[in-house]
């Protein structure tokens, strides 16, 4: 049984803040950040008002897909500590209302982006919403441990949408930004899942540590990290990033690899620690390395995109490129 029909209803009335929570504002802020980076890196003159509307549409589209995700996943959200307080599983918002909000905001964001900016960007936004809400949420998440690998494409597309909004085209450099986020996703989420796998197991979500075990997950984190970190250097050689970017990507990449190696050598996710209490973000002693990689992965990706953004806004020197 999926969705919220089997969930208990609460007497607490829905507040507007609950509907805002359905849009996952924190995820939305990351989407906006990467979309703006794509838009600025495109270096094409765009009317600032239309640029702001494009960013608004991308943000609302991301929120719409989050609402659709919370509608469909309410049953498994109710079983996990990290998500059981969300508006639908907590009974503050009815599933049908979350569905309606997601559908309405999807249509609003796609149509407004298409009519005001361009239809390539709107088409990419529509694809992203459908990919996240249908392909990832309804299909992959419950059926394969590769869920976050393939589903990561939805989170990787915002810079491409931003680029398309600014130029009406999506050149190789736009897809390079997409590829960086895409390759970042597996080590990032698997590091998290190493110390939250009990929750996923309880909810029946086939995350990699649940299906393949912690040892295999740690090995795959290392493999993806070995692919991800050199990829982060590529923008410096395609004219997208400059000297500062190269320094940040190289320095951060070394730290990322060291942390991934530590996770590989650790026993993160292996066995339950009897001293563990029931706190939401408590981490078993053995999983500290996984937590460190998870935290640094967020910082690293943020630094990469912030550096690109700063270089293009401040017109810092390029590395050379070819």
């Amino acid at each position: 049984m999926t969705m919220s029909s089997a969930l208990p209803t609460s007497r607490a009335p829905a507040r507007w803040q609950d509907f805002l929570q359905l849009l996952k504002p924190r995820v939305m802020s990351l989407v906006v950040f990467t979309a703006i980076t794509g838009m600025v890196c495109a270096e094409a003159p765009i009317n600032p008002i239309l640029g702001a509307i494009a960013v608004l549409c991308i943000a609302v589209g991301a929120g719409a897909s989050a609402s659709l995700n919370m509608w469909f996943d309410a049953d498994i959200d109710a079983k996990m500590r990290r998500t059981r307080g969300r508006p639908v599983p907590a009974g503050r918002v009815q599933g049908a209302d979350a569905l309606a909000l997601g559908v309405v905001l999807s249509m609003f964001s796609i149509m407004l982006l298409g009519m005001t900016v361009n239809w390539l960007a709107a088409g990419l936004l529509a694809f992203t919403i459908v990919f996240y809400a249908v392909v990832y949420t309804m299909w992959l998440k419950r059926s394969t441990p590769q869920n976050i690998v393939i589903g990561g494409l939805a989170g990787a597309l915002p810079p491409v949408i931003g680029w398309a909004a600014a130029t009406g085209t999506v050149p190789l450099n736009a897809w390079l930004l997409c590829a960086i986020i895409f390759m970042w996703t597996p080590p990032h989420f698997w590091a998290l899942s190493l110390y939250t796998s009990e929750d996923y197991e309880k909810a029946g979500v086939p995350m990699m540590p649940v299906v393949a075990g912690a040892k295999s997950t740690r090995k795959q984190i290392l493999i993806y990290s070995l692919l991800f970190t050199p990829l982060c250097l590529v923008p410096a050689f395609t004219g997208l990033g400059g000297m500062t970017y190269l320094a940040v990507a190289a320095g951060g990449g070394v730290i990322f690899l060291v942390l991934a190696w530590r996770v590989f050598k650790s026993r993160a996710g292996d066995a339950a620690d009897p001293r563990q209490d029931d706190g939401l973000y408590d981490v078993k002693a053995a999983a500290k390395d996984a937590r460190n990689l998870f935290a640094f992965s967020i910082l690293y990706l943020t630094l990469l995109f912030a550096t690109l953004l700063a270089e293009h806004l401040l017109d810092l020197p390029a590395f050379g490129g070819f």
Binding site: P13, R15, W16, F19, I49, I53, L56, M115, T116
Partner: protein, 48 residues
């Protein structure tokens, strides 16, 4: 949704908050449509 005729103060406050948020959203949408129209018209006029 609660019945407005028989709701308590907490329900009424929540409903008022939802209504205000919806009204602000609709007002923002109107402003957006107006601004986009002006920008688009301006661009078309400038291009001849």
């Amino acid at each position: 949704m609660s019945d407005p005729q028989n709701e308590g103060p907490v329900d009424a406050k929540a409903r008022r908050g939802r209504n205000i948020a919806l009204a602000l959203g609709l007002a923002l949408f109107m402003v957006l449509v107006f601004v986009v129209t002006i920008v688009r018209l301006g661009a078309s006029t400038a291009n001849g």
